[in-house]
Amino acid sequence: MSVLEMKNIHKSFGSLEVLKGIDLTVEKGEVVAVIGPSGGGKSTLLRCATTLETIDKGEIIIGGDILVTTKDDKAVYCDKKMLQEVRSKFGLVFQGFNLFPHFSVRRNITEALIHVHKKSKEDADQICDQLLTKMGMLDKADSYPCNLSGGQQQRVGIARALATNPDIIFFDEPTSALDPELTAGILKVIRDLAEEKMTMVIVTHEMSFARDVADRIIFMDGGVIVEQGHAKDIINNPKSERTKSFLAGY
């Protein structure tokens, strides 16, 4: 069963066409890494899938819910209620963490559970404790983001995205704001999630990580998917010249 279906996605910013008909399907339990040069459309693709950008044309289905379809060559989005439903199906981990600085770690994780998903405070706290234990951060539950290292902040970011038990998690360059040591810690967390068969789409510049953890790698450039395939094949034996020259830089 596919958790994410994106068909023929078109997106322009003014006259600049950023996505030129992308197709991407992600199966349950699959880990897909999206690589490619900056400006190639990776982040935009992720932002379209996570409702932060609207597409001009195409179709997106997440967890069986239709976010957007196309009628008469124009994207038609679902209503507000459905939009909320779709948003509960995925989690997003940001490059810059985007934690809420005025909330404690606990509240960062439980706020949406309580006020969006209408869970009781006890249930929310229990979910929070489980996630923080998993992240090795239970002792930081009452800390504020400003008192945490970047790596710890990103763990909270991941815990926050996991809290609502989504069908799929998107990562937008989750380690780009971290030094190599902290990066390793975050990559381990993602690796563990992959072993638990969490469905994930990861935009990343960590090639060896993508090779080791992803089932499939997608190489994007110029608003199109240039090449995709089994992770090891793409990294070790890229077919297209563009992919080869990109990977040669690593």
Partner: protein, 223 residues
Amino acid sequence: MDKLISILTQLGSGFLTSIALFFLTLIFSIPLGLLVAKGRMSKNIVISSLVRFYISVMRGTPLMLQLLLVYFGPYYLFNINLRNLKLGPIDYRNIAAVIGFSLNYAAYFGEIFRSGIQSMSKGQYEAATVLGFSKTQTYFRIILPQVVKRVLPAVTNEIITLVKDTSLAQAISVIEMFTVAKQISAAQASVIPLFVAGVFYYVFNGLVEIVMNRIEKKMNYYQ
């Protein structure tokens, strides 16, 4: 000594009027300021232009003139006589003062709030959006609490100015402290009442500073 006590008691009643004017202005102008900020940032060009014009008039003309306009305007412009209007012990000149001050301060507060709201990173909105928070929830739970912390020093400035500005209500003969001080000063041919009034303002602003510092400290639990 007796003279001083008499000055103090006379000033006291004026002081109460000043304080009432001060608090009522805050109560009305802060929420109104939030609306002004929202209107100024509106994507609707008609609303944002109107609010922009409102702000420029409120900031570009003397507060004293605005008070006169609120007080005399209804009669001279629309032939509506409100000057005999009374709400208990409060007559229209007091109401006009509160309206005038609130409208004026809302413009200043509006711009302060706008600066705070616009300083928030896009990421905060995006995180709230993908977590499923509604626009209202995002505004009141995520954005506004952070904005309050950011604008507090500027708001303190404005509040301190307001304490002193209440003396402008004398333009429409509101019997606030400064009006009283001038009257006593003229009657006694002495500057002491004016001096005492000065001390009142200074002490009151000292209290404002203490309270605002406390609030600022309380919000210092995060950076």
